[in-house]
């Protein structure tokens, strides 16, 4: 749903941090944003999606520009949308609660987002405490939908990337709402970040990566909360069924064939509203999935 003609404050950058039991990492993230960011006008909205570790409590009453919104177990897509409903900024960035940022992260992304063609932008990512950059943007490299870091072009200007990960995605708030926000049909975790990038391209926007603005993200081996394999499968399939043609989906299913629980996930997708949403997106999209694959995922073209 689109909040009715919500007024945004010009140039304000709203930093939405969804969190679930992130503990000290949340404090590290907030401190980094407050300590590093040089962009003059920003606010922080923490979406507490049911934390039981008390990590959000220090921010419930503070004189700093921080607000806490309670989600209570919505899952990451809905939690981000809830945060977006509560922001006042012309720009909104969704930042994972286990990141540190570079001083110019907001100013560089705000500059790129002024262009109405740009739907969203992501920074360059590094592993937390490791200087070696992981990359800027990701791409699907085979017909099993495996991803790899996208190869950046040279230069210091933002450039087109196929997808960017959800650890840090920034939008014009208006564009975020008109492209349909994070798709709420997704289950707890997975694929919602890549889906919105794919959707942005198909709707006619560009998705950019900034090779200079840097976010150090904690790519961890194990999550601090339960992630259901079924949900992950379901979300991946949902993304395919929202945007891809049947032959392409067949090809992908063949390539990933044998994944445990895929049939159950397929059942769940068929029972969902996925085809209704697909019809809506098909009616308004400006580019086809064939275009996208030719452009960015040759293995799927």
């Amino acid at each position: 749903m689109i909040p009715a003609a919500r007024r945004v404050r010009r140039d304000l950058f709203s930093v939405v941090i969804p969190t679930l039991n992130e503990g000290d990492l949340l404090r590290m993230t907030v401190d980094s944003v407050l300590g590093e960011t040089r962009y003059p006008d920003y606010e922080i909205v923490i979406v507490d999606d049911g934390s039981t570790d008390g990590s959000c409590d220090p921010y419930r009453q503070t004189d700093r520009p921080i607000r806490v919104v309670d989600g209570g177990g919505l899952g990451v897509a809905k939690a981000r949308n809830l945060g977006a409903d509560r922001v006042d900024g012309e720009y909104v960035v969704f930042l994972d609660a286990h990141c540190t940022v570079s001083p110019d992260w907001l100013s560089r992304m705000a500059k790129a987002l002024r262009d109405r063609q740009v739907g969203l932008i992501g920074p360059t990512f590094t592993q937390l405490h490791e200087p070696e950059p992981r990359g800027c943007g990701v791409a699907w490299i085979d017909d099993g939908m495996d991803t790899t870091w996208y190869e950046p072009m040279e230069g210091n200007q933002p450039y087109d990337i196929p997808l960017t990960i959800g650890a840090c995605q920034a939008f014009r708030t208006e564009a975020f709402h008109s492209m349909g926000r994070y798709e709420e049909g997704f289950a707890s975790w997975g694929s919602e970040d890549l889906e919105i990038c794919l959707r942005a391209w198909l709707l006619g926007y560009r998705v950019l990566g900034d090779p200079v603005a840097t976010v150090a993200h904690y790519f961890r081996d194990e999550r601090n909360y339960e992630v259901d394999d079924h949900d992950v499968n379901y979300n991946a399939l949902r993304m395919l069924f929202l945007h891809f043609s049947a032959p392409r989906i067949r090809r992908i299913l063949r390539a990933v064939g044998g994944v445990v629980g895929l049939d159950r996930a397929l059942d769940a997708v068929y029972e969902s509203d996925v085809f209704k949403v697909r019809a809506e997106l098909e009616a308004v999209r400006r580019r086809t999935d064939d275009w996208y694959c030719r452009e960015f995922a040759p293995a799927l073209a």
């Binding site: 570079s102 299913l253 209704k276």
Partner: protein, 636 residues
């Protein structure tokens, strides 16, 4: 002191800059002015003993000028003495009124060129004060002009009285038709005159730069058109010449048009060799900035120049955008034109033109002055100085119309001067000590860390470029555009902005309103572990079933999956066929579905490919509409 005679400022080896009474002054290093207090009696010996006592305290201390009636005398001082310190010390004596350095008033060099009073641009940007500091050093800095050539006789000799000093104008390649770069358009002669006409020569106009040599290449023809391949060759020729002669070069290109990799690579080439390239933003009445000027934001060595007027506003024709670096005088600019007729509308020898083309050589000439004063500076430092010294033409520090401001010649030339102001330095230190809490250090530390990331990124990028050639879309293009001449672009006319993706009105997605639309929801058909679009399964697409289709339509069956999932017995009953035929039909349908699904061997794969192709066509006709043209590059 104004030298109306126009003599160049003599080098003043015996002067220095320093601080006196809290202000920065220029003074003579070998003398002091002493004003004596009147003595009680009119006793010459008392005065003389005072004078001697003072002279004894001054190293050397010879009398340069004996005391005047008012008691002022000038003493010589040995070399190497700290004049302000000595003056301060002597001032404390009871027998003097004051002692001070012999301060030098700076000469403003006003050139004596006869048409100088008509050149409004130079007083506006403070050129006289800049020329006082620097007029251009040909042993360090070169100016490159890539344009329509320069005025010369048919025989190939420089013939313009303001552009024929022996040795100053180096003739490069004529890429248009070979031979000498003879100007057949007037544009190039005009641009060359603005950047570097002979100056202070009691003739015609004055150039922004008086000393540096000009290297002239011709790429624009009689109509002002030129190719990007020629441009690239010219940039490389001039850059290579400068490198070979151990010079820094500021290249002027008062042309432009669309983007291509050839141009971009040429600019990168110059920039990578530490050179600067000043380019015009274009005259499309506030249209977008043209290329190569538009590379200014991503190539360090490119400076994009817009045009300003005599009242310090942005010229109406000057293009706008984030790429504009600075603006410079470009409206009603008087400069040199060919001595022969190239165009009936252009006066011979001198004429007034408008355009960002005219603004660009002001910046080129100025950048060469700046570099002459600070030959150790990098191209980016010169560019930064151009920006930071420019006069802001409104609020804020940057504006798409005026960039970082209108150039200020004196400030620009002074930019980067070492200023020894001890007190300021102490203050700054104090401030740091006072406020340097941990936070500030933390911030510096992490800044360093990020800078390191960036440079690392570059390395990683190069390495992995090789690995994922697949994604570097421009590689092959780059390789080939280098040698083609396909882009003949007009230098002075309007061009559509280059964009891979045209502007669009973003659609609004409202999944919450679904179901109320007329658009039917069409789920994919599941068959075994795979899925099909219903349109893929429509019977008319299968030759094998052509005979049965009418009968099947009669009982309401229009898709392959409907046959494949039906019991043969039921099928036989409905159609009035015998079981053998029904069995065969169902089996064939199931086989066809497996083949579309790609389960079989290479044979069915072909079937799949055909059907997918058919499907794609249907799909695109369906949801493209007319307005998708240009977004979908399937015809590429």
């Amino acid at each position: 002191m104004i030298r109306k005679e126009g003599a160049r400022v003599a080098s003043m080896a015996d002067t220095a800059e320093g601080e006196w009474k809290g202000k920065k002054v220029h003074f003579k290093t070998n003398r002091l002015i002493v004003k004596l207090k009147p003595v009680e009696s009119d006793s010459r010996s008392a005065l003389e003993s005072n004078m001697d006592a003072i002279r004894a305290e001054v190293p050397d201390g010879a009398m340069v000028r004996p005391p005047t009636a008012t008691g002022r005398m000038v003493l010589s001082v040995a070399e190497g003495e700290d004049i302000p310190k000595l003056a301060k010390k002597l001032s404390k004596r009871a027998d003097v009124e004051y002692v001070e350095p012999d301060v030098i008033d700076s000469a403003q060099v006003i050139p004596n060129d006869t048409r100088y009073p008509q050149q409004w641009g130079h007083p506006k940007i403070g050129s006289p004060k800049a020329w006082d500091l620097q007029t251009g050093d040909p042993s360090k800095i070169l100016i490159g002009i890539i344009d329509s050539g320069i005025s010369m006789s048919a025989g190939g000799a420089l013939d313009h009285p303001d552009l024929n000093a022996p040795g100053r104008y180096i003739l490069g390649t004529d890429f248009v038709d070979g031979g000498t770069p003879r100007d057949l358009n007037a544009h190039g002669t005009h641009v060359a005159g603005i950047a570097g006409a002979e100056s202070n020569n009691v003739t015609g106009v004055v150039g922004m730069n008086w000393g540096c040599k000009l290297y002239i290449c011709r790429t624009l023809d009689a109509n002002g058109n030129g190719s990007s391949a020629d441009f690239a060759d010219a940039v490389e020729e001039i850059t290579d010449y400068a490198v070979a002669n151990n010079l820094k070069v500021v290249i002027n290109y008062s042309g432009g048009g669309g983007h291509n990799m050839t141009k971009q690579n040429a600019c990168q080439y110059a920039s990578d060799h530490g050179m600067l390239l000043c380019a015009a933003t274009g005259n499309d009445n506030a249209g977008p900035v043209i290329w190569p000027a538009a590379y200014s934001t991503n190539i360090d060595g490119v400076v994009a120049v817009g045009s300003s007027t005599s009242s310090d506003t942005v010229s109406g024709f000057s293009n706008v955008g984030p790429e504009v670096t600075v603006v410079a005088p470009g409206s009603s600019i008087l400069s040199t034109t060919p001595t022969y007729s190239v165009d009936p509308s252009v006066a011979l020898n001198y004429d007034t033109f408008d355009g960002t083309s005219m603004a660009t050589p002001f910046v080129t000439g100025l950048a060469a002055l700046m570099w002459s004063r600070h030959p150790g500076f990098s191209n980016t430092k010169i560019k930064d100085c151009l920006k930071s010294s420019a006069k802001k033409l409104g609020s804020g520090s940057f504006n798409n119309a005026w960039g970082h401001g209108r150039i200020d010649a004196e400030k620009a030339v002074r930019c980067g001067d070492l200023v020894f102001t001890q007190f300021t330095r102490f203050t700054a230190l104090t401030r740091f000590t006072r406020f340097t809490s941990l936070t500030r250090f933390t911030r510096f530390t992490s800044l360093t860390r990020f800078t390191r990331f960036t440079s690392l990124t570059r390395f990683t990028r190069f390495t992995s470029l090789t690995r994922f050639t697949r994604f570097t879309r421009f590689t092959s293009l780059t390789r080939f555009t280098r040698f083609t001449r396909f882009t003949r672009f007009t230098a002075f006319s309007r061009f559509p902005p280059f964009s891979r993706f045209p502007p669009f009105e973003p659609p609004v997605v409202r999944p919450d309103l679904l179901g109320t639309e007329d658009e039917p929801v069409r789920p994919f058909v599941r068959f075994g572990g795979t899925v099909f679009d219903p349109r893929e399964l429509e019977l008319h697409q299968f030759e094998e079933l052509a005979g049965a289709a009418p009968d099947l339509a009669h009982v309401g069956i229009s898709r392959l999956d409907e046959i494949a999932t039906t019991e043969p017995q039921q099928m036989a009953d409905a159609l009035g066929w015998d079981m053998g035929e029904a069995n065969e039909l169902v089996a064939l349908s199931q086989d066809l579905m497996h083949r579309i699904g790609g389960a079989g061997d290479s044979g069915p794969q072909e079937v799949e490919a055909e059907i997918i192709e058919g499907y794609v066509e249907v799909d695109e006709d369906d949801d493209n509409g007319g307005d998708e043209e240009g977004y979908d590059d399937s015809g590429r």
